[in-house]
C-alpha cells in the first residue's frame, strides 16, 4: 500500500504542482504584483488549501487553509464571482486574521474562481499590483485567462490520476489474485509514465492551445500575445531547465 501511494504521488504531485507554480509565477510577473496564490478545495473537512504561491510576499500562504465560508477566497469559491477589493488594509475588520497568518496584509486583492464542468474547484488570487492601487477590468479578464489555464492543468493531471486508479482497479480484478500488489503497481506506473511522456507533455498542450486560438478574435489574440510576451520575458530571466 505504501508503494502504491508513492506511485500515486509520483503521478500527481510534481506535474500539478509545477504547472500551478508556473501559473502563479507568471501571474506575479504579468501584474508586477507582491504575491499570487492558488487555493484548491479539499474535503473532510471542507477547506480551501493554498497549494502554490509566488512573489516576494507570497511564500507565507503555502499550506495555509481557510474555511470556504471565510474571507475573500471563500466568497469567490462559494459564489463563483470574481471580485477585487482595494483599501483592504485600511479596513481593520477585513479578513485581517487570515491575511496576518500569511505574514502579509495587502492593500488590494483580486480573486477569480477556478472551475471545471462540475463547478468551482479553487481560487486564484493576486495581491497588490506595484504600479497601481487597484485592479482594472482588463486585469480581471487577464486573471480569468490564467485561472482557465490553472483549471486545465488541474483537470489534465486529475484525468491522469483517475486513469492510474482505474487501471489499478481493473488489474486487481483481471489478475484475480495472481498479480502481486507490486506487479500491479509496476504495470500502472509504466503505463502512466508513458502517458506523461507522450500525450500530456507541455509541447502537445501547447499545440492544442495554438489550435484552439485559431477561433479567437483580434481582441483575444492581443490578450494571448500579451501573456506570451510576459512568459517569454520570464523564460529569459529564469535559469534554463532541462
Amino acid at each position: 500500500m505504501a508503494r502504491r501511494s508513492v506511485v500515486a504521488r509520483g503521478l500527481q504531485g510534481p506535474v500539478e504542482q509545477r504547472l500551478l507554480q508556473s501559473i502563479v509565477d507568471a501571474t506575479v510577473s504579468l501584474f508586477d504584483a507582491e504575491a499570487s496564490s492558488i487555493a484548491l478545495f479539499e474535503r473532510d473537512p471542507d477547506r480551501l488549501e493554498y497549494r502554490v504561491a509566488a512573489g516576494e510576499h507570497g511564500a507565507g500562504a503555502v499550506g495555509l487553509t481557510v474555511k470556504p465560508s471565510e474571507g475573500i477566497a471563500g466568497f469567490v469559491f462559494s459564489t463563483g464571482q470574481a471580485v477585487s477589493l482595494s483599501d483592504v488594509a485600511a479596513d481593520p475588520r477585513f479578513d485581517r486574521e487570515a491575511a496576518e497568518r500569511t505574514g502579509y496584509v495587502p492593500r488590494s486583492v483580486a480573486a477569480v474562481p477556478l472551475y471545471d464542468e462540475e463547478g468551482t474547484i479553487g481560487v486564484l488570487q493576486v495581491l497588490d499590483k506595484r504600479g497601481s492601487e487597484s485592479f482594472s477590468l482588463r486585469d480581471m479578464e487577464l486573471l480569468a485567462v490564467f485561472a482557465a489555464q490553472a483549471t486545465a492543468a488541474i483537470t489534465a493531471t486529475r484525468v491522469q490520476r483517475g486513469t492510474a486508479r482505474l487501471m489499478t482497479h481493473i488489474l486487481e480484478h483481471v489478475g484475480d489474485g495472481t498479480l502481486t500488489e507490486e506487479q500491479v503497481d509496476a504495470i500502472v506506473s509504466d503505463a502512466t509514465r508513458g502517458l506523461d511522456d507522450h500525450a500530456d507533455t507541455p509541447f502537445w498542450h501547447l499545440v492544442d492551445h495554438v489550435e484552439a486560438l485559431r477561433t479567437l478574435g483580434e481582441r483575444d489574440l492581443t490578450l494571448v500575445a500579451d501573456i506570451l510576451n510576459v512568459v517569454a520575458r520570464h523564460a529569459e530571466r529564469a535559469p534554463r531547465r532541462r
Binding site: 465560508s69 459564489t79 475588520r93 485561472a147
Partner: protein, 284 residues
Amino acid sequence: MSGLDLPAWSEPFTDVAGLARRMRLRGISRDWAWGGSTGAGVRVGIVDSGLEASHPRLNGRVAQSVAVQLVDGEPEVVPDEAVDLYGHATACGGIILGMAPEVELVSIRVLGADLRGKGTAFAAGLEWAIEQGIDVLNLSLSSKSEALFPVFHDLVDKAYFRGIPLVSAANNVPAASYPSLFSTVVSVAAHGEADPWRLYYNPSPPVEFGAWGVEVPIAWKDGGTTVATGNSFAAPHVTGMVALILAKHRGLTPFEVKAVLAAVADNPRRAGGEAASRVGGVAP
C-alpha cells in the same frame, strides 16, 4: 480555455462608442421612469450571503431575514440571524439603498458554512423569494452546474410569469452560468465610469446591461466599508433603478421594465444619426 467562444464579462462596456443605437423607444425619459420615486412600498430580495441588518449603510431597512439550510441534502428555508458571512449581500443592499432609499430589503441567505454555495440552496432560496411575491430580486451570484440548468430555467420562467424582475450579475469569466444567461433575466456586467446612474444597454446579448462595477465604495461585513470591483456590484445599481421604476409604476412586467431600462440607457447616438432623429430620438 473552452469558454472563450462566449464574450468576456465586461467587454461590451469598455468601448461605449460601439453601443451606439439607431432605434430606441421614444417618449420614455428618466423623469418619467423614476422621477420623484424613492422606492417606497417596494420589497427587494437579495439572494446572497445574508444581510447584516445592523450595518449603518442599511439604515434599518431589512424587513426579513431567512436562510436556506440543507437537511440530508434537502433544502429548507428557516428564519436567519441577520449577519453577513462575507459582507457581499450587505454591499449589494447598501448600493440599492443608495439609489432607492425607501425600499424594504429581504435577506435570503443561500451561502454559508454548510452550503458552500451549493446550487441547490441557491435554487431553493430563489424559489422561496418568488413564491413570497417579493417585487424584485437581486442575484449577484451564479451557478455553473449543468445539472441545475433545467431547475433554474423553470424558476426564471416562474418569476417572469409572476411579474418579478430578476436582476442577475453576469458571470465574470467567459463561460456559461445560470441564471444570468437566460433571456428573461436582466443580466448586468460592470462598466468603469464612477456614476451609479450611468446605465448602458448592450444590443448584443447575452449580457444586456452595464452599470458601475469598478472601484465601487461598498458596505462590508462587521459595519465596515471597502472598495470593490466586480459584476456583483454592478447588478445592484440596476436593481435600485428597477425598484424605483416599480415603486412609481406598480404592475409593470419584467419585459416592460427591461424596455424602460433600455429606453433610458446612456448609449450614444449613432454617428450620422439622421435615422436616429427620424425613427426614435434619443432619451435624455
